[in-house]
Symmetry: C2
Subunit: 206 residues, 2 copies
DNA sequence: ATAAAAATTAAACAATCGTTTAATTTAAAC
DNA sequence: GTTTAAATTAAACGATTGTTTAATTTTTAT
């Protein structure tokens, strides 16, 4: 589906507002006002509020398998590859943090009949690449064989999102100036912590 | 504040519904119907919907500092203490997962003027205990000194919640029967993975 | 320049929202 | 047993919700 300027504007505004105030907490009137368009245009373009959310998910959970394959190919050293993959993952989820927040909240909502296929497909493909990488590393004797591979993703993404969801309280602890240096903190300190955690886990022998 | 039977019922129903469908996605009419009471009783008892949420947060984020102190005192071995603390933490957040979900969603919502003091107080006290424990372990030469202490909590809690928020998709991967064995999975496999991760991180020398 | 199609608008729709009212029933106190 | 207070109810309040309508403007094609 090709999107014109106004449709992109609507999707951008909707992403921001859904993430900040929730799907149910955001009225299409509020979206229309913020996007500076008439209320009826949203139904005209997307059909309904639910379909707007579906369009949003589809357009923003594009697969980044190729990026991941590149990150895995950059080096011959397994631990260096871990660093590269973590850097990529954190950068990617930080950029898409709003969409992920919406998904986290709505995916488990029984009242919603939204199609999460594109999200789940992307998730599965990424997992398969990582699983292969870790099994290779295990075969090469670099990684521990006792690690629970499917639970590595929750540790990587979860660390980021638990930080993000409690951002306000960490801003105190770390004296982060929210406007200027949140991005910096994520891409330096937080990324470094996650790299350290996963490398430790993958090389930990009980 | 002392609560009678009906008030407790209302809070229990509200907790479940707020967590499942969100605060804005849950009407007080739906809560009243589910709790089998008249709509007006919620205003009568709690004043308003927002105050109902505040009551809920206050009554369910009770401090468990003492439990944590006990877990830290059970053994003399530092790594065994880590195991005990993780077991306690996971058990605790799993039991309170609905309240945490509500907090994660509403804490970052600018439109809401809810008092999160009791949650933040509890968080801070727990952190101080853990910080002291880790610094002791570092001084004793058991734990690595390069670990980022404030980010350990996001790793522990985040791993749990990222699993929980994507439960549906992990149920496929792990063939978990959601009704019977989710609790078991959390308290065995997931807890073990987190223990392994944190012990690895705390003993990892770069 | 004219006709057809697409985009945009203000207004209205019924439904639902949180909250309040005023009346009635139940429980407690004396 | 009577009085007072507390609990419970159905109904109504105005505001807001997502969506649709029908009319108008703008753009595109011929």
């Amino acid at each position: 589906m090709e999107l014109n300027e106004k449709q992109i504007k609507i999707l951008d505004v909707a992403e921001k507002m859904f993430a900040e105030n929730g799907y149910d907490g955001t009225s299409i009137r509020a979206i229309a006002k913020e996007a500076d368009i008439n209320i009826a245009m949203i139904s005209y373009y997307f059909g309904s509020k639910e379909k707007l959310l579906e369009h949003l998910l589809k357009s923003k959970t594009a697969n980044f398998t190729i990026e991941l394959e590149n990150a895995l190919a950059t080096s011959t050293d397994y631990l260096e590859k871990v660093d590269n993959v973590i850097s990529l993952l954190v950068r990617r989820i930080h950029k898409s943090r709003r969409i992920y927040k919406i998904i986290h909240f709505e995916y488990s909502n029984e009242n919603r009949h939204i199609d999460f296929k594109s999200y789940l497909d992307s998730k599965r493909k990424n997992y398969e690449l990582i699983e292969k990488f870790i099994k290779d590393g295990q075969a090469a004797g670099v990684f521990s064989k006792k690690v629970n591979i499917p639970l590595i993703f929750p540790t990587v993404l979860g660390t980021y999102f638990n930080f993000y969801y409690n951002k306000k309280s960490y801003e105190e602890t770390y004296q982060i100036n929210p406007k200027i240096s949140l991005d910096d903190f994520v891409h330096t300190t937080l990324t470094e912590h996650i790299k350290q955690t996963i490398k430790a886990l993958l090389t930990y022998e009980v």
